[in-house]
Amino acid sequence: MSDRPMIEVRDVTRSYGNFKALDNASLTIREGEFFSLLGPSGCGKTTLLRMIAGFDTPTNGAILIDGQKMAGIPANRRPTNMVFQSYAIFPHLNVEQNVGYGLKRLRLEKAEEKRRVDEALAQVELGGLGRRGAGELSGGQRQRVALARALVMRPKVLLLDEPLSALDKKLREQMQVELRHLQQSVGITFVLVTHDQYEALAMSDRIAVMFGGRIAQVDTPKQVYQRPVNRQVADFLGGMNFVRARIVGEAEGHIVVDTPGFGQVRAERPRQFAPSNGSATLGIRPERLRVLWDEETAKHQVSGTVVDRHYFGEITHLVVEIPGFEAPLSVTETNNFGADDIPVGAPIRLAYDPDALVAMAD
């Protein structure tokens, strides 16, 4: 990965009548990066991907690929290739013909064309299946053919539109790992559209989280998960406990907030922050709260009562009421110490790391 920008999206808006599918979006994707566009359906992620591919045109703004403006350049002359959600395998062609479809236009020598098709099939571990008909492939195999067909073109950017959503859970997780390895070995810039936060977290170098046509946050997986800029982003990426906090002090890059349970906390100043009414939201992920057993104590702890318990096999989900909090805290605890045996109604103490508390805009 380099710092050279591969895709630049500059103030791009896409309107359909009064509806803005994408609203003044800007971002830069670096060369060799695995970049994900993450958000719920209708957030504009697919619209943005299709505009990069050339299947849709921005109403306003510009898209640059490798420094070149893409306005007026149709999909067939862009240095991008796409893996479609439906895979779009040509049903009248076999695997080899599907993969070689784009090469035909390059008028390569027969042997060279064959070598590149075989190479691409080997890359996606489909070696030897070249003669298979499109109708004789499993879901996972179709996905690999679609991938090989795009990679064989050696694009500057590979676009993936929810490529794993049609696969079952096990295969999906296996493909996540494979896709990540593949991307690292070919070094091509990957742009993935997904609504699955785990997929985005597991595969990406950076993630753009989108809502309602706007880009809410662009960051590394760890940052978007641990330091979400607002409640919406925090919520979309997984469980999060929210506590209302009073701002009692401000310093360079930091704010000091006060809550009934956590006391005074010095937190990183949220990026989308308008200190208007003197309050902020403090958040902590359920797994960042730890059950304290017996006589064990911690420097930072809160105490309360277990009001509900849900068993999930490897973890147990506890709901704990803390005096002074408007809502009970969710806690996830691994089951190796007996969290699954804590009775409802029992008193409980929870340890936390103040660094795990994140201040957010509402």
Partner: protein, 274 residues
């Protein structure tokens, strides 16, 4: 009591179905039988086997002319209704637009409109426009009759045509024309061929519209109708009818096989149902 009735129904239903089929196809099957019967009148018992009625057909210039007229009308009507059908079927299966339901309904209407009404209306309009009746007017009338059939066949071929296939082709560098040639055409070709065959078959043996709209050149069904006035020519008509029956059956069968192939081809479920 109920059980008795049910058992009676179970026993009798196959017999009823067999009788039904017999009434439906029995008369049609008599046609080839009498066409090889060595007798000038189609009556039982059979007088003996002969090919002579078929041999007579070859020497009949009028018949050959009428058949040639029908072939020309059939080809023209098939091509026209298929071209129009491609446009219509693609619009209906691909785009959303105001009045879409009304439009597809109206295209299908000739299926159930009384043909004689259609024929008379067309005659009035064509005459009002000052067009003289000829094979051209017959062809135009046949396009109207064939179009719903073309639409049905083509729509089943186009439906489920995943739009992303054309996008994938463009994405892989192919031009719009190249995409049409390498993806769209091969996938819908069986449906197009099926539509051509079905329209040709329908036009070839259509009588009412042809009767009203033809000028001095008769089509084959009109020729046959004219021959029926002469009892002596009946066996030859039966022979001709047999040839048409077998021909139509073959063409429609091929068309249906092609249509099914087209449907199977356009199916591209992305692993969801695999």
């Amino acid at each position: 009591m109920n059980a008795v009735l049910r058992r009676a129904a179970i026993n009798w239903l196959p017999a009823y179905a067999a009788l039904y089929i017999l009434f439906l196809y029995g008369p049609v099957l008599l046609l080839p039988l009498f066409s090889v019967n060595d007798s000038a009148t189609p009556t039982l018992p059979f007088a003996g086997f002969t090919w002579k009625w078929y041999e007579q057909l070859w020497g009949n210039r009028e018949m050959i002319n009428a058949a040639w007229n029908s072939v020309r009308v059939g080809l023209a009507a098939a091509i026209l209704s298929t071209v129009l059908g491609i446009c219509g079927a693609r619009a209906v299966t691909r785009y959303r637009f105001a009045g879409k339901r009304a439009m597809s309904g109206l295209i299908m209407a000739p299926l159930v409109l009384p043909e004689i009404i259609v024929a008379i209306s067309l005659l009035l309009v064509l005459l009002a426009f000052g067009m003289s009746l000829s094979l051209v007017t017959v062809t135009l009338g046949h396009v109207l009759i064939c179009l719903p059939y073309s639409m049905v066949v083509l729509m089943s071929g186009f439906e489920g045509f995943d739009r992303s296939l054309e996008e994938a082709s463009a994405d892989l560098g192919e031009t719009a024309f190249g995409t049409f040639r390498r993806v769209t055409l091969p996938m819908v070709a069986p449906a197009i061929l099926a539509s051509l065959l079905v329209s040709f078959t329908i036009s070839f043996d259509e009588f009412i519209v042809a009767f009203f709209l033809s000028g001095t050149d008769p089509t084959l069904p009109i020729y046959i109708w004219g021959q029926l006035r002469f009892a002596s020519r009946l066996p030859a008509v039966l022979a001709l009818g047999t040839i048409m029956l077998i021909g139509s059956f073959l063409l429609v069968t091929i068309a249906e096989l092609l249509r099914r192939r087209a449907v199977a081809r356009t199916k591209t479920d992305g692993g969801l149902f695999v």
